[in-house]
């Protein structure tokens, strides 16, 4: 397999283009997707035209609802919701329609669609343009939830999401869009949903990190390895279904667990993983499970304050030390 190099934005663009070439029932629907906010979908209009790259009115419910109806009748739509914050405007078609359709109809209608949406703080966009809502969707039976942290993962997972017969919520991160990385070539390279990736092997502490927290966790792992502390960084990549096996195996090995997400901690991913481990692997634990994430607050416009809120390397470091009992 040959390797290229690209950003996550580029990887997503490629995944969409390749799947559109492969399957003509794949279309992209959203507000100004032809222009491409953050440049992610830019240029697709040239190859696929406006029948398949569909700009819409500002009508999030109709955008997602249209995708649900189209998916029920033979299409595989990809929807873009410009900011995760606007998912508040289309929760019904996601939660009560897409997620439940297969179940409610006793399997008569499946809903193969993807909702892509960028989240995360760090660009002074203020309280209504910086949120991350992964855990809401994790708690909705019928949905799958994906959140990649590298170009290769983004591409491979998005392709799987498009091919999946269920609604997949695909959560991107604005700040990660332009981080580069290796990207395998070839239109058929996919990554199965539901498989975690061990981004760094280690033996002392397991750090389960997601999205923007992954590179931060890896940097801390590097830093601490100089101190002789060996950290295993696991990126679940798919948040639902969660690869509990990989996580439990790692914790059995290390006996210590830190979780790291950008979203608000309350009832978040870290809570779910902590509950999982404290139910199923409590015997292996040698210390407290420590969660890193946004405390119970909003993100301020003021950038110093915003950055003081966003969880960072320092927070992971402190958490690792705490998990090791050296507070």
């Amino acid at each position: 397999m040959s390797m290229g190099f690209n950003t996550i934005a580029g990887a997503i663009n490629q995944a969409i283009a390749e799947e559109m070439r492969r399957d003509e029932t794949v279309v992209l629907i959203g507000e100004d997707v032809a222009s491409g906010i953050f440049g992610v979908t830019a240029g697709l209009i040239e190859e696929f035209g406006k029948e398949r790259i569909c700009d819409t009115p500002i009508s999030e419910n109709a955008i997602v609802g249209c995708a649900v109806g189209a998916a029920m009748t033979g299409m595989r739509p990809i929807v873009e919701i410009m900011f995760q914050d606007f998912l508040t405007c289309c929760m019904d078609p996601i939660v009560n329609q897409a997620a439940k359709m297969n179940y409610m109809s006793g399997g008569a209608f499946s809903v193969p669609m993807v909702v892509r949406s960028p989240g995360g703080a760090g660009i002074a966009a203020g309280p209504q343009h910086s949120q991350t809502f992964a855990s809401w969707f994790m708690g909705v039976p019928g949905l799958k939830v994906v959140s990649p942290s590298t170009p290769a993962d983004a591409k491979g997972l998005l392709k799987s999401a498009i091919r999946d017969n269920n609604p997949v919520i695909f959560l991107e991160n604005k700040l990660l869009y332009f981080e580069g990385g290796e990207l395998p070539d070839g239109p058929n390279i996919t990554i199965p949903l539901g498989q975690a990736d061990v981004k760094r092997e280690g033996t002392d502490v397991t750090v389960v990190a997601v999205s923007g927290m992954v590179p931060r966790a890896v940097r801390i792992a590097d830093e601490l390895s100089d101190e002789g502390i060996s950290i295993e960084v696991i990126d679940p990549r798919t948040l639902y279904p969660l690869d509990t096996k990989t996580i439990l195996a790692s914790v059995s090995k290390t006996g210590r667990l830190v979780t790291a997400e950008e979203g608000v901690l309350t009832c978040g991913l870290g809570a779910e993983i902590a509950a999982l481990v404290s139910e199923q692997a409590c015997d292996c634990l040698d210390g407290p499970i420590v969660r890193v994430g946004t405390p119970h607050v909003s993100y301020a416009y003021n950038q110093a304050m915003e950055w003081a809120t966003i969880p960072d390397e320092q927070d992971i470091l402190v958490a690792v030390k705490k998990a090791m009992g050296c507070e």
């Binding site: 109709a62 029920m72 009748t73 299409m75 329609q97 297969n102 409610m104 499946s110 039976p141």
Partner: protein, 330 residues
């Protein structure tokens, strides 16, 4: 251009098509009367919304649709399903919560759906069906498969933001969608005057640049004729149309609703509008059919519904522990 939509004259129907319409309406009527009883007897559970009195709308509309065409529906969805040709047996089985039911007992009254007939499901969320209709309209246009979607919704639903977004999007994209408003003057316990400051929901069509017309929804021939015009227009690629059918809700909002909020005289008068009685009388007067022919159909229907009830009652209960299946598609 978009505004030059006009209804043509009502066509008088011959015996065969007339009896077909009568039969469908009777099927809905008897099915729902039976459901009302089964609910009162606690054989059927949950929320059951009856469309008794409103049968002409789905029957008149769907008579102009093929099996390939789509419909989206509401919480009051049995009539739409049966109107589209749905199977009373599988409907009953669903209401009894059985495996043989349309949703294998998972959905119940508010979710009956038929993949083969393009029935995209009844819906427990008021207004959500209009969103799905945009989707089936989109796929039909994109796949060029010539299918149209009839989207049923109520006067109450027309106040939902989802309806607004759906209508606007269907209009900008000129999708083959017919927005069929069943205006029965009520949203649960609230009369229309308390939920919107307009008389005709069809007046909303202009807000989207689509044609809108209001007809007597209890006159099956009027509905049938208007639907023919609208289906032609829409299938022609001329964009969506809003067709408002004025009708009457005879029963409570849900089975078991004692309707204390309703004026008793108004309520007593609703049966005057009976779409079945009106059509039958007219056909007999016009000598299109005679009353024996009507009775024969009524008897057929009676039998079919009785059979459906037995089919439902005798159906297989799903294994309660099987609650994981169908959450995800393979």
């Amino acid at each position: 251009m978009k505004q030059d939509f006009k209804l043509t004259k009502k066509k008088l129907l011959g015996k065969v098509p007339a009896l077909k319409l009568l039969k469908r309406m009777l099927l809905i009527r008897r099915l729902e009367e039976t459901l009302g009883k089964l609910f009162a007897d606690s054989e059927v559970k949950g929320f059951v919304h009856l469309s008794i009195g409103q049968e002409a709308v789905p029957v008149g509309i769907c008579a102009n649709l093929g099996d390939d065409d789509y419909i989206t529906s509401t919480h009051r969805g049995h009539g739409h399903l049966i109107g589209k040709g749905g199977d009373p047996k599988r409907t009953m089985a669903e209401l009894f919560g059985k495996i043989e039911g349309y949703c294998k007992g998972r959905g119940g009254s508010m979710h009956v759906a038929d993949f083969e007939l393009g029935v995209l499901g009844a819906n427990g969320i008021v207004g959500a069906g209009t969103l799905l209709a945009v989707g089936s309209g989109f796929s039909a246009k994109y796949l060029k498969n010539d299918r149209v979607t009839a989207c049923f919704f109520g006067d109450g639903a027309s106040n939902q933001g989802m309806f607004h977004e759906a209508a606007n999007l269907a209009a900008v994209w000129r999708l083959p969608v017919i927005f069929v408003c069943e205006n029965n003057g009520w949203a649960e316990f609230s009369p229309q005057s308390s939920h919107q400051a307009i008389k005709n929901v069809a007046d909303r069509a202009a807000a989207y640049g689509m044609p809108g017309v209001t007809i007597d929804g209890d006159d099956i021939e009027a509905v049938h004729a208007a639907a023919a015009d609208v289906v032609d227009w829409v299938r022609d690629g001329r964009g969506p149309v809003l067709l408002e059918c004025m009708t009457h809700r005879w029963q409570g909002h849900y089975a078991g609703d004692p309707q204390p909020y309703r004026d008793q005289d108004e309520l007593a008068a609703v049966t005057q509008h009976c779409p079945i009685e009106r059509f039958k009388k007219m056909l007999i007067k016009r000598k299109t059919i005679n009353s024996d022919e009507f009775e024969a159909v009524a008897t057929e229907v009676e039998l079919e519904i009785n059979e459906a009830v037995e089919f439902g009652r005798q159906g297989t209960d799903p294994d309660p522990r099987d609650f994981m299946s169908y959450i995800y598609a393979n």
